[in-house]
């Protein structure tokens, strides 16, 4: 399994590097602009308060948009990181095994003394390691820029918010992996289905405070449990990590059950 992890990481090294550059660039772009309207934060918040709550909830889970914590929550943790981590994890989840199966290279791997369980575990662990690495780089970038532009948000809550957005992405990545492992036409649709679930969850979670009956469907999707501004204010709820962790564990077990005995290339 170590061989699989080592070589998969090696194969993906450039892609990971470009993702890291893109992510750090976007964080820098978002936070770099903060000093230019820091002084008008009070007035801007007043304007922002006049926007209907439903529209506001698309931008942030906080009503405080222009304070350092509010800005970090709404720009970096409600937009950049969850979206980047989700896209990154979905692309990994759908390609870590799916690409080998599409190209036929999976036969070279499975003709060796390598069980399907180990191949799946090796690839899933590689994905987890890549996402963790990206999240750590993201954390380092946010903390560095936090210091550079004097946001004064403590590193502890920032780390919790980064971890939570990475876990959010991981849950969608696992859904993509599960769909890929089911084989057949589902394999091709894995990116589409996982992305649809992510966006549907995002929209439902944004609207649920206004359209109350949406709370129920929203509860079934990870975005409902993702509240970065609470995390940055040191308010912590166990439901989020438990739900998303549950999606990851159950999704992985279902992926294993689907992949271990099915026809390859079907």
């Amino acid at each position: 399994m170590i061989t699989i992890i080592r070589w998969t990481l090696w194969q993906r090294r450039w892609s990971l590097m470009w993702w890291a550059i893109g992510m750090v660039g976007m964080i820098a772009l978002e936070l770099g602009f903060y000093p230019s309207f820091r002084d008008q934060a009070g007035q801007l918040n007043q304007v922002f308060d006049q926007i209907p709550a439903a529209a506001r909830s698309f931008i942030s889970d906080s009503s405080d948009f222009f304070s350092p914590t509010g800005y970090l929550a709404s720009r970096v943790f409600a937009l950049v990181l969850p979206i980047l981590f989700t896209i990154f994890a979905i692309s990994l989840g759908s390609s870590l095994l799916g690409r080998d199966e599409r190209d036929g290279t999976i036969e070279l791997l499975l003709s060796r003394p390598l069980s399907r369980s180990k191949l799946l575990a090796g690839r899933a662990l590689t994905g987890l390691m890549m996402l963790t690495l990206l999240a750590l780089l993201g954390l380092a970038a946010v903390i560095s820029l936090d210091a550079l532009v004097n946001l004064h948000v403590a590193p502890g809550p920032v780390a919790a918010a980064v971890a939570m957005s990475a876990l959010l992405g991981l849950s969608f990545g696992t859904i993509a992996l599960l769909i890929t492992c089911m084989g057949g036409p589902a394999r091709v649709a894995s990116v589409g289905i996982a992305t649809f679930l992510a966006f549907a969850g995002y929209i439902l979670a944004s609207l649920e405070s206004t359209v109350h009956w949406l709370v129920w469907p929203a509860r079934l999707l990870p975005f409902h449990y993702y509240h970065p501004s609470e995390l940055l204010h040191n308010a912590y709820h166990w439901q989020g990590p438990v739900f998303m962790g549950g999606v990851v564990v159950i999704g992985y077990l279902l992926a294993w059950a689907a992949f271990r005995r099915r026809d390859i290339g079907a």
Partner: protein, 303 residues
């Protein structure tokens, strides 16, 4: 245990397909034997091989490699196995050298033959695989299948994409591998190729194994007919090959040219021809599809 590969009523149906892709195929390949699985495209050769490698699950029946069930004990079955697909898919961004290193590490066995194979097959190992021609990629595929000197090799249409020179090198490689006691299962739709390599062949059609025979039987049996076009310096006399009796037949004659089909040894024909001045003799490659179909119809008639 003398059997390297055993298929026991191996059956495969894809989804709800009306026909079986593999219909109760039973065959036994002894250790050290080179066995050819012959049949037209879509006959079930690749399905048999892919089931044997546990890429697809049998609907019924079972199979074993070196005594290990290919589904229940696939790791042990793959421990000393080499596999090559006809349209081999490799990792394009890796160089040949990196790829072979990766495959060797996954096999978890030393690769004593790697360097010699790279030299013997003139493999380009220092360029990204995606920049290589189809033939050169196939050579990399051959090296990964043979480099750990496996006891059992399963090769699915291995010569596709190889030029005639490399095909020769491949036949030599198969002969050397057989000499060290390895067992080889090779699928092909080329009768001549199989005759060059194999000890025994099995004919597969519509998922069924319809006939098995040794290659020596193949030379003299119903499939052993060879066809030649002979061009004489001057028109040959009528009834030239009559002394050969039923073993030879004139298919077509006109002017200085004669098409002759002959079964069994060529010596009597050559002895007759030696009395005349011959410009050229050209052998026609056996048309497997035709011969195979005739064999299939015979098998049907016998039922």
């Amino acid at each position: 245990m003398d059997n390297a590969i055993v298929l026991d009523r191996l059956t495969k149906r894809y989804g709800h397909a009306p026909h079986l892709a593999l219909d109760k195929v039973s065959l036994t390949i002894k250790k050290g034997e080179v066995y050819g699985l012959l049949g037209p495209n879509g006959a079930g050769k690749s399905t048999a091989i892919r089931t044997l490698l546990n890429f697809i699950q049998p609907t019924d029946g079972n199979a074993a490699i070196n005594g290990y069930d290919v589904v229940k004990n696939s790791l042990q079955a793959h421990h000393s196995l080499g596999y090559l697909a006809g349209d081999v898919a490799l990792y394009g961004t890796m160089t040949g050298s990196q790829f072979l290193h990766y495959m060797g590490a996954l096999q978890g066995r030393p690769t004593p033959a790697r360097a010699a194979l790279i030299q013997q097959l003139h493999v380009t190992t220092n360029q990204p695989i995606k920049s290589l021609s189809k033939g050169n990629r196939q050579k990399v595929g051959l090296v990964q299948a043979f480099m750990h000197e496996p006891e059992v090799l399963i090769l699915d249409e291995p010569t596709s994409g190889l030029d005639p020179l490399m095909q020769e090198a491949f036949f030599t490689l198969v002969a050397e591998t057989k000499q060290r006691g390895a067992t080889i299962l090779v699928s092909s739709h080329n009768l001549t190729e199989v005759q060059r390599m194999c000890d025994r062949v099995g004919f597969i059609r519509q998922g069924k194994l319809i006939h098995e025979q040794t290659v020596s039987e193949l030379q003299t049996g119903p499939l052993g007919k060879q066809t030649f076009t002979i061009v004489f310096a001057s028109p040959p006399p009528r009834g030239l090959i009559k002394p050969l009796g039923a073993t030879a037949k004139v298919l077509q004659a006109g002017g200085k040219t004669m098409d002759v089909a002959i079964q069994g040894s060529l010596t009597p024909l050559l002895a007759l021809l030696a009395k005349h001045e011959i410009v050229t003799i050209q052998k026609h490659e056996s048309n497997l599809e035709e011969e195979f179909l005739s064999l299939y119809h015979e098998a049907e008639d016998e039922r």
